[in-house]
């Protein structure tokens, strides 16, 4: 026993719904093909619906007066014969009126609910039956979603199978280019990027032909250009710049080097150089050195760390420096030529020199003198990390009053550091080495460090500088000395 679902068709060129005015049949009635089964009212007319099949009405799905959407099921029929057949086609002679003739022996119609339930659970109506595509699409009320696309792997197979079409496509796309007379630049020389990135490159002075694109198909991206601009300050010996690689220049790589490598002077390098020149040739620099036994400081730092307190040698030096500043304020001052005044600062904005991929930067800790040792340790770590990640803010880079530079990490004992412009002093800490040193009247291997202090001789005289340096040295060699200083 076959079942046919009949959905409300679009009865008039784009209708979306109709109202069932009345049924001419009831559940259980036998109907013939084209027999009127209902009157429906559309926006345009009242229309009689003829039965699409001969069969038995097994269910009516709308009440009179109900408005039904086009495409909604309105009648379920039970048909005789095999599933899917609604008409006899093969034997024209046999039928007088095929619509009228019913099979004499009706198979048992008992349990129609079971049958129709079973059949209607087989989702849709028959394939070649009611069309619900005429007229505007009926709103399903569901959230609009995309049809799912095939997985890329499968897609690529089918695309390669479709190669002729793609080739034809490529030919069509290529063809016009071949007709162009004497193009200005050969295709290989043109760079591939978007208009805004071109503009960026132009503004930063980056030569696109020397940028390797990391986008799809070698497209040069915004990041590619930015990285090149940043690394440009550093690079001096490579023919092309690859931003994806380590951008710190490797000195000493000489195979195949060009005779001359030119790099534009730009951004950070340019700024740093300017600052150095200004500092070096304005302030008369004097440098003093002090070598001390810092074993007790090393031990103190180790003990503090073991007990869970943040500590570092650099932080201890920073703390010692702040104490020294309090006792020797001239090292924490500025020569204000415009105002013809010397400014002595009542706070310490301590600059920490950081080597970053973009060059030397000196962000400073505001009011470092008010920080505890632990706070100093953490703060120093933070600003160093930020500076290396190019996240130093302009605020942190300005307003410093005195600076520390750690040349010890490079394995250097001492140096003659150049003052940060606007500051009176800069302290360089050297590497800590195990050296034979006087200890309790005997020679012992001790942790030894050299401190180098450069100062602006306009602001600080030799004696002041020396006392400042020895104060720091005293604290480092015997941290307990602090108790006599504060």
């Amino acid at each position: 026993m076959a079942v046919k679902e009949f959905a409300l068709p679009d009865l008039g060129e784009g209708l979306t719904e109709s109202e069932i005015v009345e049924w001419h049949v009831a559940v259980g009635d036998m109907v013939t093909l084209n027999q009127p089964i209902a009157e429906v009212e559309t926006a345009k007319a009242i229309v009689s619906l003829p039965s699409p099949v001969a069969g038995k009405i097994s269910a009516l799905h709308a009440e009179p007066g109900a408005t039904v959407l086009v495409g909604a099921r309105i009648v379920t029929f039970e048909l005789e014969g095999e599933a899917g057949e609604t008409d006899k086609q093969d034997d024209p002679e046999a039928s007088q009126k095929p619509a009228q003739s019913q099979k004499p022996a009706q198979p048992d119609m008992s349990a129609p609910t079971e049958k129709s339930g079973e059949a209607s659970s087989s989702d849709a109506p028959e394939r070649n039956s009611v069309l619900v595509g005429y007229g505007p699409a009926v709103e399903s009320g569901k959230r609009p979603i995309r049809k799912p696309r095939a997985a890329p792997a499968a897609q690529q197979t089918s695309q390669s199978a479709d190669a002729p079409a793609a080739d034809a496509l490529a030919q069509i796309v290529e063809a016009p280019a071949k007709n162009v007379n004497a193009p200005a630049t050969p295709a290989e020389a043109r760079t591939k990027t978007t208009p805004p990135v071109r503009k960026l490159a132009h503004d930063l002075g980056v030569d696109l032909t020397r940028v390797q694109g990391t986008g799809p198909d070698g497209l040069i991206t915004r990041d590619d250009v930015s990285q090149v601009a940043d690394a440009g300050a550093q690079s001096s010996d490579s023919a092309t710049v690859s931003p994806s690689r380590e951008s710190v220049p490797r000195a000493g790589v000489s195979n195949g080097r060009p005779r001359e490598q030119r790099t534009p002077i730009k951004s950070v390098r340019k700024a740093t150089a300017a600052a150095m020149v200004s500092s070096a040739f304005t302030a008369p620099h004097v440098t003093e050195f002090l070598t001390i036994d810092v074993t007790r400081t090393i031990e103190l730092v180790a003990r503090l760390k073991a007990s869970g307190t943040s500590a570092s040698v650099l932080a201890v030096i920073a703390k010692a420096l702040c104490i020294g500043v309090a006792r020797n304020p001239s090292v924490n001052s500025r020569w204000d030529a415009d105002a013809n005044e010397i400014i002595e600062f009542g706070y310490v904005n301590l600059g920490i020199a950081v080597a970053t991929p973009r060059g030397l930067m000196v962000p400073n800790l505001k009011d470092a003198d008010s920080l505890t040792l632990a706070e100093l340790t953490d703060a120093i770590g933070t600003i160093a990390r930020d500076a290396r990640a190019s996240k130093a803010t302009p605020a942190s880079l300005g307003g410093g009053t005195i600076s520390i530079t750690n040349v010890g990490v490079f394995g250097i004992d001492a140096g003659t550091p150049i003052l940060n412009p606007g500051e009176a002093a800069i302290l360089a800490m050297g590497a800590v080495r195990k050296m034979p040193w006087e200890h309790h009247g005997e020679i012992a291997l001790r942790d030894v460090m050299t401190l180098s202090l450069s100062f602006d001789h306009r602001l600080v005289d030799g004696e002041q500088g020396a006392r400042f340096l020895t104060d720091i040295g005293a604290i480092l060699s015997d941290p307990g000395t602090v108790l006599s200083m504060v």
Binding site: K44, G135, P144, I145, R146, P152, Q155, T194, P196
Partner: protein, 333 residues
């Protein structure tokens, strides 16, 4: 404020225009006794009489030509062309006369005509009933071309069109005739010639008009599932096009997709893509993308789904604009 179908909103707008101005006259086939094949003019002849609402012979050139003569006599004719595909017999009258008389007569003769045209597909019809001929008229100097997408716009824009002293081609998206929406009859609409940002977004600007506005909004909802934020712009006016609104959007998003039912070549999408490329060149992260009908005559009903831009084709275009894998540039990205 009432809930009206787009068709009823148009009828309401016509009714108001007929009440407000004695010189307004409606002309068209089957608009009087029948009330129009889409019932837009239902009841108007009954209420305003046969002198104000005129059934015409079956002749589009005749309808437009008669309207020109009435306009010379100081009337404000509102013509109905029954279906988009039937406008062509009247094309000569529209393009050679209506569009040019004001220019030709140095402003002495005005052509304050409104020509209403149900247009667009998606209704499963036979040929000539699903056309999108708006580009021909947007290309003709001297004509204004507008199209509504909601019942409120249908009402307000039709009243503006009728009140305008310029000739206006008023395209009505027929597959949306039964869309319902709120209509405030006293609302002051956006000035004629302006586009509307229907929904804001950040990643792509999707520009469209008429029947595809609803489809574009659906696409924006579906795209949100992929984390894509689409800004949908309803042009509303096709001549002139409100490039200020569209430019501002493209400068914000950097990406542009245009969709319309009309065929690709020479369609309004080409005009918008070219102009926006010019105006927003340094803001564009990708080339503008057009998702349109193909360059074929509007096909038989069973094929129209393979002609009309739908949600999936629009989002394929959005993918392309975002540089994501799509059907044109492949899936290797």
């Amino acid at each position: 404020m009432t809930d009206l179908t787009l068709a009823k909103a148009l009828g309401s707008g016509l009714r108001r225009a007929l009440s407000d101005d004695d010189k307004v006259v409606l002309l068209g086939e089957d608009i009087g006794t029948l009330g129009g094949v889409f019932r837009v003019t239902d009841g108007l002849q009954r209420d305003f009489g046969t002198e104000r609402v005129m059934d015409t012979p079956l002749a589009e050139a005749g309808i437009i030509g008669m309207a020109v003569g009435l306009a010379f006599r100081g009337y404000r004719p509102v013509c109905e062309i029954q279906f988009d595909g039937f406008i062509y017999p009247g094309f000569d009258q529209i393009v050679a006369q209506v569009a040019k008389l004001h220019y030709r007569t140095a402003g002495n003769v005005r052509m304050p005509l409104t020509i209403r045209v149900p247009y667009g597909g998606g209704i499963g019809a036979v040929e000539h009933h699903s056309e999108s001929p708006e580009a021909y008229f947007a290309h003709t100097a001297g004509l204004r071309v507008v199209t509504c997408s909601t019942p409120q716009d249908a009402y307000s824009m039709l009243r503006e069109a009728i009140a305008s002293d310029d000739p206006v081609l008023f395209f009505e998206p027929k597959r949306r005739y039964w869309t319902k929406g709120e209509v405030d009859e006293d609302a002051v609409g956006l000035p004629m010639g302006t586009a509307r940002v229907v929904v804001e977004g950040t990643d792509v600007t999707l520009v469209t008009y008429g029947p595809l506005v609803a489809t574009a909004l659906d696409a924006a909802v579906a795209a949100a599932d992929d984390g894509i934020s689409i800004e949908v712009v309803d042009l509303r006016s096709l001549s002139p096009v409100d490039f200020d609104t569209v430019s501002a959007s493209v400068q914000k998003t950097g990406r542009l997709v245009i969709t319309h039912e009309a065929s690709e070549s020479g369609g309004l999408g080409a005009e918008i893509a070219a102009t926006l490329t010019d105006r927003c060149f340094y803001y564009l992260e990708a080339a503008p993308v057009r998702i349109t009908g193909f360059d074929v005559p509007y096909p038989a009903a069973k094929l129209e789904d393979h002609f009309l831009p739908d949600l999936d084709r629009i989002l394929d275009g959005v993918d392309r604009a975002l540089g994501r894998a799509n059907s044109l540039t492949g899936w290797s990205a």
